[in-house]
């Protein structure tokens, strides 16, 4: 066990999101106490009233930047942290928060609040790396507990956390699942980064792409497959946008193919 002084100073912060990724860390009930033996967790407002002004060795940030105050806060955290890790879909792809992108923000606000003059919010949601340097990203909505442990272990032992640059299909095959695409479903597994262990397809639900696009995703072939199954443009766009509406390359390829102005 490391001594108190040699333990890295670790902080967790949340921007706008459901807090599900911080919760996934608390959900590591079996491992939590052991993890806490290896780090000096100084800031975790969801679980502790202790406060620590920084600097931090490692700072985990979940959620999206939705207003100027959050942007300033993120920049401050960046300055205070040796390593900054974006935690979960809201921080790495914008997640469902980015479904606002491409729509008229004033109309959206007005429809929720009526008089929305007191509501300050940005029209576009972007991954955190668009605002500050992000050292590592842990994907998913929510993140996977085992990936978090794997990541932390690599970091604590001085190794380089591994990146899974292959698609969900690989994990799905390893689990010997029946391919949902072959069953007629519209599954984003072929173009989505692995890491979840093919969580959704394993319980009969097609992948929704929450781990973000796999590098060199063959978007065109995916659109072709969806079209062959009779999916309308509208359906294809909704499937792609669900967790990836702020992924520019992804949307560009979609736009090239479908020629929809607001993508």
């Amino acid at each position: 066990m490391p001594t108190e002084k040699s333990k890295p100073v670790v902080a967790f912060y949340g921007l706008t999101c459901c807090a599900g990724c911080q919760l996934e860390v608390l959900n590591l009930e079996e491992e939590l106490l052991e993890i806490l033996g290896h780090i000096n967790l100084v800031q975790f407002r969801m679980g502790s009233s202790a406060k620590h002004p920084g600097p931090y060795d490692v700072c985990f940030v979940e959620g999206s930047v939705t207003n100027e105050a959050e942007l300033a806060h993120l920049k401050e955290l960046r300055e205070k942290s040796k390593v900054l890790v974006a935690l979960g879909a809201c921080a790495t792809t914008g997640g469902v928060n980015a479904l606002r992108n491409g729509r008229n923000i004033e109309e959206l606000k007005q429809s929720v609040y009526g008089d929305a003059s007191h509501v300050r919010t940005l029209p576009q949601i972007q991954p955190l790396k668009e605002y500050v340097k992000v050292d590592y990203e842990l994907q998913g909505c929510p993140i996977a507990g085992d990936e978090f442990i794997e990541f932390l272990t690599a970091l604590l032992t001085g190794g380089e956390p591994s990146e899974k640059n292959y698609a969900v299909c690989v994990e799905c095959r390893l689990k010997e699942n029946i391919c949902l695409m072959k069953e007629g479903e519209l599954c984003l597994g072929p173009i989505t980064r692995a890491g979840c262990g093919a969580r959704c397809p394993s319980v009969g639900f097609p992948c929704e792409g929450c781990w973000g696009p796999v590098p060199q995703a063959n978007v065109e072939s995916e659109i072709n497959m969806f079209s062959q199954k009779g999916a309308s443009f509208d359906v294809v766009v909704r499937k792609f946008r669900m967790f990836n509406a702020s992924m520019e390359d992804f949307m560009k390829q979609l736009k090239k193919r479908l020629d929809i102005e607001w993508l």
């Binding site: 949340g14 921007l15 706008t16 999101c17 459901c18 807090a19 599900g20 990724c21 911080q22 919760l23 996934e24 608390l26 959900n27 009930e29 079996e30 939590l32 106490l33 806490l36 967790l41 975790f44 407002r45 969801m46 679980g47 502790s48 009233s49 202790a50 406060k51 959620g63 999206s64 939705t66 207003n67 959050e70 997640g95 469902v96 928060n97 479904l99 606002r100 109309e107 959206l108 606000k109 429809s111 929720v112 609040y113 009526g114 008089d115 007191h118 509501v119 919010t121 909505c141 929510p142 969580r199 959704c200 394993s202 319980v203 009969g204 639900f205 929704e208 359906v235 909704r238 669900m242």
Partner: protein, 426 residues
């Protein structure tokens, strides 16, 4: 003249971001602002044009802690709007999802969020040296809820296999039997949790408020029923807008709610006050043993209320599993098609009544959506409670006063991220 001022930035050990501002002036009503600073999320707005089948998956993302409650409320509202009849098996499995959510969230709130204040710690880790056994127990009780959600919903945060009309995947008989064993084995620990919370009788804040729960004729509030207050009001869920009135406040990204012009309470104490007689026998025995008097108007008893409910919900989950074990469980999705329609549904989330309402066009696309979360319902009452508590704070040190204010807010187990999107009237 200002005699005392409290400005608490980012209230800890609650879900989401909120600040509290209190100013006490001589001869005047205390000025209280529960500032909801969480960024706005616009769920109801960007949901428009999404297909009915996607609604529950988007809306579960409102909240990590109560994602199963949001998913079930959304599925039931969608089905009511599209006139889809789920099977009895589907309803029972959904109850298990809600019960899993209750177990996990209650164990988290009681032990991780509320308890440290009562034993002079800032978090559960600081409790370890003195309360090793209790901390280990808390982790196990929390895990059990997660396991139940994972077993039925396919994942403990943001369920996967619960879809409009039914389930794409169901647990096996062996899995259900093993789950039942673990639920039964947790009963002594659930009792221990009640006894522990029964030790803490301070602080208190007794103030007669009105209480609201989803009341069902056959079971303690969880999955379905009418909106019932302890003052005798009763309406069906789709008419909720005639009962619950919301207003914008300039310092919050959430709307505040009232019934008949006064604040109200939802959550464990509301459920207990309204449906005490529907609790399981073991839960009733424990109420006797710890000497809890119901109805109770002491808001701090939300905490022990959750501990009582943990035991009841264990019993309820065991009962449902016993019934399901006698049937043939198979993935089943009721036949359905897109059509125009509008309806609402309410469930009991861990923090209280949760209402979802949707309208669809003929293609089954969302034309309007409305979600009222329990935390948003409680805000106005939190402020009213703080106004009542405020005069007693003047004799305390700043630290003690702030602790008391924090404890009061935490007793409501607020879920602030949930609350920041709000009413859309179409």
């Amino acid at each position: 003249m200002v005699v005392a001022k409290f400005d608490i930035h980012h209230i800890a050990r609650v879900e989401g971001h909120g600040d509290l501002f209190v100013e006490l002036q001589k001869g005047k009503e205390p000025h209280v602002e529960m500032r909801v600073t969480e960024g706005t999320r616009l769920f109801e707005a960007f949901l428009r044009n999404q297909c009915f089948a996607e609604v529950s998956h988007v809306m579960s993302r409102i909240c990590g802690i109560c994602s199963h409650s949001h998913a079930v409320a959304a599925l039931r509202a969608v089905e009511a709007a599209l006139r889809i009849e789920p099977s009895h098996q589907t309803i029972q499995l959904r109850k298990l999802m809600l019960l899993g959510d209750m177990l996990e969230s209650h164990a988290l709130h009681i032990n991780f969020l509320a308890l440290p204040d009562y034993v002079g710690a800032r978090n559960i880790v600081e409790m370890l040296p003195k309360y090793q056994k209790e901390v280990q127990r808390a982790l196990q009780l929390k895990k059990l809820g997660n396991e139940l959600m994972e077993l039925v919903g396919g994942r403990h945060t943001h369920p996967l296999c619960a879809v409009v009309g039914g389930f794409t995947h169901v647990p096996s008989l062996t899995q259900l039997e093993s789950m039942k064993k673990r639920l039964r084995a947790a009963i002594p620990d659930a009792k221990g949790q009640i006894e522990l919370m029964g030790n803490f009788t301070d602080p208190q804040l007794v103030r007669r408020s009105q209480y609201l729960a989803v009341k069902h004729p056959k079971e303690y509030p969880i999955h379905d029923g009418q909106l019932v207050t302890d003052m005798g009001l009763q309406i069906s869920v789709p008419e909720y807008q005639t009962m619950i009135k919301e207003r914008n406040v300039p310092y919050a990204h959430a709307k505040f709610s009232e019934i008949k012009g006064t604040p109200f309470v939802v959550g464990s104490l509301a459920r207990l006050n309204i449906a005490y007689d529907q609790l399981s026998d073991t839960a009733k025995q424990m109420i006797q043993q710890v000497g809890l008097k119901l109805p109770s108007y002491d808001i701090f008893q939300m905490n022990i209320g959750q501990a009582i409910e943990y035991l009841h919900y264990l019993d309820h989950a065991i009962e449902i599993i016993d019934e399901l074990r006698r049937t043939k469980l198979e993935p089943h999705v009721a036949k359905h098609e897109a059509r125009a329609g509008m309806s609402a549904a309410a469930v009991e989330a861990p923090r209280g009544v949760l209402i979802h309402r949707y309208a669809f066009d003929a293609r089954g696309k969302v034309t309007s959506a409305d979600v009222i979360t329990p935390t948003a319902m409680n805000y106005a009452n939190i402020e009213a409670d703080i106004r009542a508590l405020a005069p007693t704070l003047q004799d305390l040190s700043k630290e003690e006063a702030e602790l008391k204010l924090n404890m009061l807010i935490r007793a409501y187990d607020p879920c602030i991220s949930c609350s920041v999107h709000y009413l859309h009237t179409c």
